[in-house]
Amino acid sequence: MTDADYFGLLGQDRRWDIDRAALERSYLERSQATHPDGFVGQDSATQRAAMERSSALNSAYRTLRDPVLRAEYLVKLGGVDLDSSDPRTGAPKPGQEFLLEMIDLRERLADGDVPAVRGEIEARADRALDAAIAALGRGEVADAARELVARRYFQRFLDEVDAIEERHP
């Protein structure tokens, strides 16, 4: 699926460290050529094809422009789908130790130590992403997957903190 993958669609090398400016340029150029507005008045099959090409392009852009989604997508291309719970090809389950740590953090949050907990979680989410990117660079997909699963836990935690702060500003 070299041509059909998101990197191929946007003419980029398949790696995490892409040239953001080149990505933007390529996306805008290709969008101009495929947007359905350029096919108004043509037969429905042509219009549908334009919509599907545009849709794929927009999905690719959304994924590749985001550092986290881009890393997760590379892991998926490597055979691990973080959105799946399949025991063989799905997201790896976090270890016992990690889950206990999360419970501990949650308790600290309940005790009202919001800013300190937030800072710590943000730093750990960043470190997990960095570790995943490094693992991808070494071609170690399983390691990258584990780090990205951890990052998702941290992210969900941060979203909850946001929600708490919105309720009690």
Binding site: S31, H35, D37, S44, Q47, R48, S54, N58, R62, D83
Partner: protein, 662 residues
């Protein structure tokens, strides 16, 4: 959760076939841009690359009040309808945009209408007390669109090929679908639904360089939108959008109206008093945009010479204004843009004339906003430009990359929403998600499609429900159903579900729970086509009448000037012309004369008077034109002939020049 119905999707496991019209030849220059507003609507054209201009009526008014009166036998739209509102507040519909795509249970604001359709399609009963006449918001909007279409056809001298209709960026799928249906019922091919802020940016961006970041603050009568856009090498990319589809200048009026009712000591006001207060409040709000304090008298409320200051008005609207500012900050954050990075802030919508709003926008974005295109007209300008491009004109076009304003998802176990397409994703876009069965007994799966940002299904808008049947009996988690959401360039959704083991597929055009069914829309479209034929006939009659009148007038003038000269007009010809004239007078006097009768009388008159005309021409040539070259004579005659023809029926169709044109 709002009331909703289970939609029967018809045959099971239909394979989705591409539907829609086959290739249709386009008509360059015959596309129109329509701003279908809560308070006012406009139509603009920008044919074949021309600068956009709003089409005006004979009084020079471009704005058509979005008001539809069902009081008389005939439906009346616009200023005339508005004039009937005081006497019949429940039968003259205004601000119908607030009802678009909504169910009765969603209506949480005050209004004077009799609503019907609990649990299904909302309708307003606009009939007399003994004769109910339910109409859907879609049909009411279609009446406004019909008037705009007629205005455009008069200007273009023929049918409109298609239209770009603008919608608030924050409109959800149900509201967009309703708008598209209204366009179809009004007999318009809807090329595209375009987000209002995007249209405004398009109107500004085209004559302002190739690059830049813009924010558009759009506060209309009933809706608020904010969008952050990037213009880059001919591509307009919406980075983020936000807003509130139920917040606008009408809310300012209502807040001020409550204040007036308080001043009048009316704790329990009647519908008529509330309406009188609202009308007075709107006028007062407009005055307080200019002066610091104003006196107000409302006879219907027994209110005399009450004083209201601008500061009081600002205090009343401050909570509403702050809501818009919060949405602006959120949109900037979603776009990943800081206010200081922006190259311009565009103000759109009549409500941005309120000084406090301008002040807050300036503070929030750190720069004075751009207002050089009339905020009431800028959206229609942008829509006209896009309509011209989509009609097939050779116009250096920009590509518009718009976004979906609200996330789309499915309800899963426990009433939680699984988001499938996130908000601010560029459209068109598709996304897939795989769901599994929870037991071997499960052979069906109910899909509940939702739109919104909240975690729980019941807090989001319910768009549709359907059931996927015929899932094979498999152990838990082994049956796998892949659900695909496809959003098109109008942000309208189609959902497809496929069982992966067997490959059986089922496709649903997402018809909003509170929308008209496809059959209802088709029926209304057919009815409008009948209407269209009648409309067309009416125009044919009017034109034939004008033509005949022109010929009669020209002959009478010639008779008065030179009819006594025997060499030009002998007795026999004179009698023939006189009888032709009296026949013409008789036909003109008959109000029921059809186009054929009027044209027959004109042709007869032209034939009888032809020798008289030829002799006058001869005389003019020999007398007035001696010493001139043949070319000059021919040119002079040709110009005269053209003028005569134009004087007849085209003149009143040409709108005054757009004073805001570039």
């Amino acid at each position: 959760m709002s009331s909703s119905t289970i939609k029967d999707t018809g045959a099971l496991f239909q394979i989705a076939e591409p539907t829609g019209p086959q290739a249709a030849p386009r008509a360059p220059g015959r596309g129109v841009g329509i701003d279908l507003g809560t308070t006012n609507s406009l139509v603009a054209i920008a044919p074949q690359g021309a600068a956009p201009r709003v089409l005006r009526d004979e009084r020079g008014w471009g704005l058509v009040p979005s008001v539809v009166s069902y009081v008389g036998d005939r439906v009346v739209v616009g200023a005339d309808a508005l004039a009937q509102q005081g006497a019949h507040p429940d039968r003259v519909v205004s601000s119908v945009k607030r009802f678009m795509g909504r169910g009765v249970g969603d209506i949480d604001f005050t209004h004077p209408y009799r609503l019907q359709g609990e649990g299904g399609v909302l309708r307003l009963d606009v009939g007399a007390e003994d004769r109910p006449r339910p109409v859907s918001p879609v049909e009411v909007s279609a009446e406004v669109l019909r008037v705009l279409r007629a205005r455009a056809e008069a200007e273009l001298g023929g049918p409109v090929d298609g239209a770009v209709i603008t919608v608030p960026a924050y409109f959800d799928d149900a509201q967009r679908q309703a708008t598209r249906d209204a366009g179809r019922i009004a007999g318009l091919k809807v090329y595209r639904l375009l987000a209002e802020p995007t249209a405004a940016a398009l109107a500004y961006g085209l004559d302002r360089g190739e690059h830049g970041l813009f924010a558009v603050y759009d506060l209309g009568g009933g809706t608020f939108d904010v969008s952050v856009l990037r213009l880059h090498d001919g591509v307009f990319q919406v980075l983020a959008t936000g807003g509130d589809s139920a917040l606008g200048g009408d809310d300012f009026d209502r807040a001020l109206a409550r204040h007036l009712l308080g001043l009048a000591g009316k704790a329990e006001a009647s519908a008529r008093e509330v309406d009188a207060a609202r009308v007075a409040a709107r006028a007062l709000k407009e005055r307080l945009s200019v002066v610091d304090a104003a006196g107000i008298t409302v006879d219907a409320l027994g209110l005399r010479d009450a004083q209201v200051t601008r500061a009081e008005l600002e205090a009343l609207i401050e909570p509403l204004a702050q809501r818009t500012i919060r949405a602006c900050r959120a949109a900037l954050k979603d776009a990943g843009v800081r206010a200081t990075e922006l190259d311009g802030v565009v103000l759109v919508g009549g409500s941005t004339r309120v000084p406090r709003i301008r002040q807050l926008v300036e503070q929030t974005f750190g720069r004075p906003p751009l207002t050089d295109i009339d905020p009431d007209e800028v959206v229609a300008h942008g829509a006209a430009i896009q309509a011209d491009i989509l009609s097939g004109s050779e116009r250096p076009g920009v590509t518009l990359l718009d976004v979906v304003p609200l996330s789309l998802g499915l309800e899963t176990m426990g009433g939680i929403v699984e988001k499938i397409i996130p908000r601010n994703a560029t459209i068109p876009i598709s996304a897939r998600q795989v769901f599994t069965n929870y037991s071997e007994q499960q052979t069906g799966m109910v899909m509940h499609v939702l739109q919104g940002e909240r975690e729980l299904a019941r807090d989001n808008r319910s768009l549709a429900r359907f059931e996927l049947k015929g899932i094979p009996r498999l152990p838990p988690s082994m049956a796998r159903v892949e659900v695909t959401f496809q959003l098109d360039a109008d942000a309208l959704l189609t959902v497809t579900a496929r069982e992966l083991m067997t490959g059986v597929k089922q496709s649903v055009e997402v018809k909003p729970t509170h929308g008209l069914s496809a059959e209802e829309v088709d029926r209304l479209v057919i009815e409008s086509l009948d209407h269209a034929a009648a409309d067309y006939d009416a125009r044919g009659v009017a034109e034939a009448r004008v033509e005949l009148g022109r010929v009669v007038l020209a002959i009478r003038q010639a008779l008065a000037e030179v009819g006594h000269i025997e060499s030009l007009l002998n007795r026999g010809d004179r009698m023939g012309i006189d009888s032709g004239l009296s026949e013409a007078d008789a036909v003109m006097a008959d109000p029921n004369a059809d186009a054929a009768a009027l044209s027959r009388a004109r042709e007869r008159l032209e034939r009888i008077s032809e020798p008289f005309a030829a002799r006058r021409m001869q005389r003019a040539l020999s007398a007035g034109m001696t010493g001139k070259s043949l070319e000059e004579i021919e040119a002079a005659l040709a110009a005269e002939g053209l003028d005569a023809r134009r004087g007849g029926h085209t003149a009143e169709l040409i709108a005054p020049e757009d004073e805001h044109g570039e």
